[in-house]
């Protein structure tokens, strides 16, 4: 062990280069994991953080709030399904709006029943109690969406006052506001006088006591052919685009997860080859192979630990920022998962070098051959 640490001290640049490389790769993985989570939250946070346990789209909506339209007849059929304790309606529209002195794209969700589509991640203020009031995305407070600010829908000039803030309620990566259903209707007709109505995009349901959300989903889908019901979590996961984002990132994670153990393993293999003469000599004077392997693994663990620590240190300040309007957050689970995985893979990759060490024949100290042969 002493020899292993001493070697690191003596060859600072070589080991620092590897530690820095691993640190950079770990930082990239963690950053991208956070970016992925931030991106998905900004796409479907509004679905995840609304209060209804079951959402029912029209089949034609393709699990998309922007594409689903619920007719009054369909709404009645859904509400009549056995096991429904309460139902509400949730409408969605995307608007241009004046806020904070500039024109912004704003997603508005209108609900008619508190507890069935209202935001449940409030961090300030209150829920709307009158028409023309809304709860806005907390991370957009500085852009003219703070409590007391007025947001003006364009064209039409309909004004909505922000009375509350909720976190992680983004939808389709736009600044999002939750409001009463009449406010949503007025915003729709204000922006588009040709609009004949503002029908709900989904029916929100609460199951009766003793009926689970998943069970109610099955009952609705069985009873109403035109309905497409999902639990809250499934509705978020099945929203178009979410799975594709996750798949794209997973491919990238897989490749990065391969590069780190490869770099680590090859680095120590080359180092072992370079030290061939010294290692053979050590074996010749009686040092057991297991001790040399332990020394090697100790170096790998130190290098990986420092590299991972560098990566986390680089990641921590960045994880508290916003990137292109996407609020990021420190992902403790991702840090633990990747640290453990990369440590295990890194140590595993050093087994190739360990195999070389164990293959050393001490007699070759007298012939000049070593592990390199």
């Amino acid at each position: 062990m002493f020899l292993a640490l001493k070697e690191i001290r003596r060859a600072k640049i070589r080991f620092a280069l590897l530690m820095g490389s691993i640190g950079l790769l770990v930082f990239l993985i963690l950053f991208q994991q956070t970016l992925q989570n931030g991106l998905i939250t900004s796409f479907v946070g509004a679905i995840r953080n609304q209060s209804a346990p079951v959402l029912v789209y029209s089949v034609d909506g393709r699990v998309n709030l922007q594409g689903s339209v619920i007719t009054p007849d369909l709404a009645s059929q859904i509400a009549a399904v056995d096991g429904v304790a309460a139902s509400g309606q949730l409408g969605q529209g995307t608007f241009s709006a004046q806020a904070g002195g500039s024109t912004e794209t704003v997603g508005i969700l209108g609900y008619d029943t508190e507890g069935l589509g209202s935001p449940d991640s409030m961090v300030g203020g209150r829920l709307p109690t009158a028409d023309g009031e809304a709860v806005a995305l907390a991370s957009a407070a500085g852009d003219g969406f703070d409590i007391g600010d007025t947001v003006t829908i364009e064209p039409g000039g309909y004004e909505i006052t922000v009375v509350g803030l909720a976190e992680q309620i983004g939808f389709q990566a736009t600044t999002t506001m939750f409001t009463t259903y009449p406010t949503f209707e007025q915003a729709t007709t204000s922006a588009n006088p040709d609009a004949t109505s503002a029908p709900p995009a989904v029916i929100t349901l609460r199951p009766e006591s003793g009926v689970s959300a998943a069970e109610l989903v099955s009952r609705v889908n069985d009873a109403v052919p035109e309905a497409d019901a999902y639990t809250r979590a499934d509705a978020a996961a099945e929203t178009p685009g979410v799975a594709q984002v996750q798949q794209s990132f997973n491919i990238i994670f897989l490749l990065y997860g391969l590069v780190i153990p490869l770099v680590t393993g090859l680095f120590f293999l080359i180092i072992t080859l370079q030290k061939a003469g010294s290692l053979t000599l050590l074996r010749a004077i009686g040092v057991p192979g297991s001790r040399l392997v332990r020394s090697l693994i100790a170096q790998v663990v130190v290098v990986l630990a420092v590299g991972i620590a560098i990566g986390i240190a680089l990641y921590t300040p960045l994880s508290r920022q916003q990137l292109g309007g996407i609020p990021l957050s420190f992902q403790t689970g991702a840090v633990v998962f990747w640290s453990v995985l990369l440590m295990v893979l890194g140590v595993f990759s050093s087994l190739f070098a360990a195999r070389r060490v164990l293959a050393i024949d001490p007699i070759e100290a007298t012939t000049g051959a070593g592990v390199g042969r």
């Binding site: 070589r14 280069l17 590897l18 490389s21 950079l24 790769l25 990239l28 970016l35 991106l39 029209s58 089949v59 034609d60 909506g61 393709r62 922007q66 594409g67 339209v69 007719t71 409408g91 529209g93 995307t94 608007f95 241009s96 024109t103 794209t105 364009e154 064209p155 389709q172 990566a173 729709t188 922006a191 588009n192 040709d194 609009a195 004949t196 109505s197 503002a198 029908p199 052919p225 035109e226 497409d228 178009p240 685009g241 594709q244 794209s248 491919i251 990238i252 490749l255 391969l258 590069v259 490869l262 770099v263 090859l266 680095f267 293999l269 080359i270 180092i271 080859l273 370079q274 292109g324």
Partner: protein, 371 residues
């Protein structure tokens, strides 16, 4: 240089590891680039195929088709602007389509375009109730002569032929006349409906030699800034998510290039350390540092080219294997060349870390230690 090439030939095993890792990185780079190009093409090709030079939105629409409304009066005003040769309305609605023979819940995502000026590869607007379909829909089971039922209102649209490479927001498109589009929009999206004669946007063709930027300004001035006029390329970039996708993927590609620099730097720095004694001997017999470093760079370039070739072959194989309408992956020659150039650049920069070591080698010391 000859020595560097001979070492590559005689001891290829020494370079296998670096080649494998660089191949992974090359594959990653080309995969990311192909995904980006595929996503962008899937999101924008329907707009980029417009024959006109400009797209006009209402000024409050934030350059979004869905939120824009252009009346017949505005259209007439724009048609009278100097340099404008033709104006045609265009509208979009994204709907679920029921395909004959499919399960009731097995719908296709389609985008119905209503148009007046046909884009590249599309004939003049067909009779009401009929449409041309993008070939990606054919790959998903749509056939010529089929009648698709669009949206909740089951608006019927008969497919009378197929067109290539016209996707929007990652979905296959249908191209119909304005009446078909307006009928489908008003029946299925009552909150987003439009009145008679109203379009969401206009495609504007210019007289030959007219400057598009100047014409765009003239159009907005003629409508008292009630419009926002963009070039077709800018209109494509304004589609939701396009810029975000591009910047995210470009950041990841940039980072991957940095990783390539680190990997090349690491390997050739270590190889240089390994060869210190040999370089010492070579320097002692008159070899210049420039020549030795040139050899290192040559080896890195060859290793990178081999890795790029393998990575490119894998990416090409993926491109051929991916069926239309599945993974949005498009590999272009420009993307392949850019990726190889980036990797070569990374290889040369990575090698530069070895330059200091090569310059520092003292022939006398090296010979002493080597012996």
């Amino acid at each position: 240089m000859k020595l560097a090439l001979r070492e590559l030939r005689r001891q290829p095993g020494r370079f296998v590891t670096a080649t494998v890792i660089l191949t992974l990185i090359a594959s990653l780079l080309m995969l990311l680039g192909g995904l980006l190009d595929g996503l962008l093409s899937g999101a924008t090709s329907a707009v980029l195929a417009q024959k006109g030079e400009l797209v006009v939105y209402s000024s409050t629409a934030e350059d979004s088709f869905q939120r824009s409304r252009i009346t017949t009066d505005t259209s007439a005003t724009i048609a009278a602007v100097d340099g404008v040769s033709d104006v045609g309305g265009i509208g979009v609605v994204q709907l679920g389509a029921r395909v004959p023979g499919n399960d009731d819940r097995d719908l296709l995502d389609v985008v119905l375009f209503g148009y007046e000026l046909p884009p590249e590869g599309v004939a003049a607007a067909p009779p009401t109730g009929q449409a041309y379909a993008d070939a990606t829909l054919e790959a998903q089971g749509v056939e010529k002569g089929m009648t698709l039922l669009l949206g909740q209102a089951r608006t019927p649209v008969e497919v009378i032929g197929f067109v290539d490479g016209l996707q929007y927001s990652g979905q296959g498109t249908l191209w119909a006349d304005a009446t078909t589009w307006r009928g489908a929009l008003n029946a299925n999206r009552p909150g987003a409906g439009v009145g008679d004669g109203v379009f969401q946007s206009l495609v504007v063709e210019l007289d030959p030699g007219t400057d598009p930027a100047a014409a765009a300004s003239a159009i907005d001035a003629a409508t008292d800034d009630s419009t926002s006029t963009l070039t077709v390329v800018d209109a494509a970039n304004a589609i939701g998510g396009v810029e975000q996708q591009r910047s995210t993927f470009n950041q990841i590609i940039g980072v991957t290039v940095i990783i390539a620099i680190v990997v090349v730097g690491l390997f050739f720095a270590l190889l240089t350390v390994e060869r210190t004694a040999m370089y010492g001997v070579l320097k002692a017999v008159g070899a210049r540092s420039r020549t030795l470093f040139g050899g290192v760079v040559l080896q890195a370039v060859i290793v990178t080219l081999i890795a790029s070739f393998i990575g490119g072959s894998l990416a090409l194989a993926l491109d051929l294997a991916v069926p239309p309408g599945s993974i949005p992956f498009t590999l272009t020659p420009a993307r392949l060349i850019t990726s190889v150039v980036l990797l070569l650049l990374a290889a040369v920069i990575g090698c530069a870390f070895s330059l200091r070591r090569v310059l520092r080698i003292d022939p006398a010391t090296a010979i002493g230690s080597g012996t």
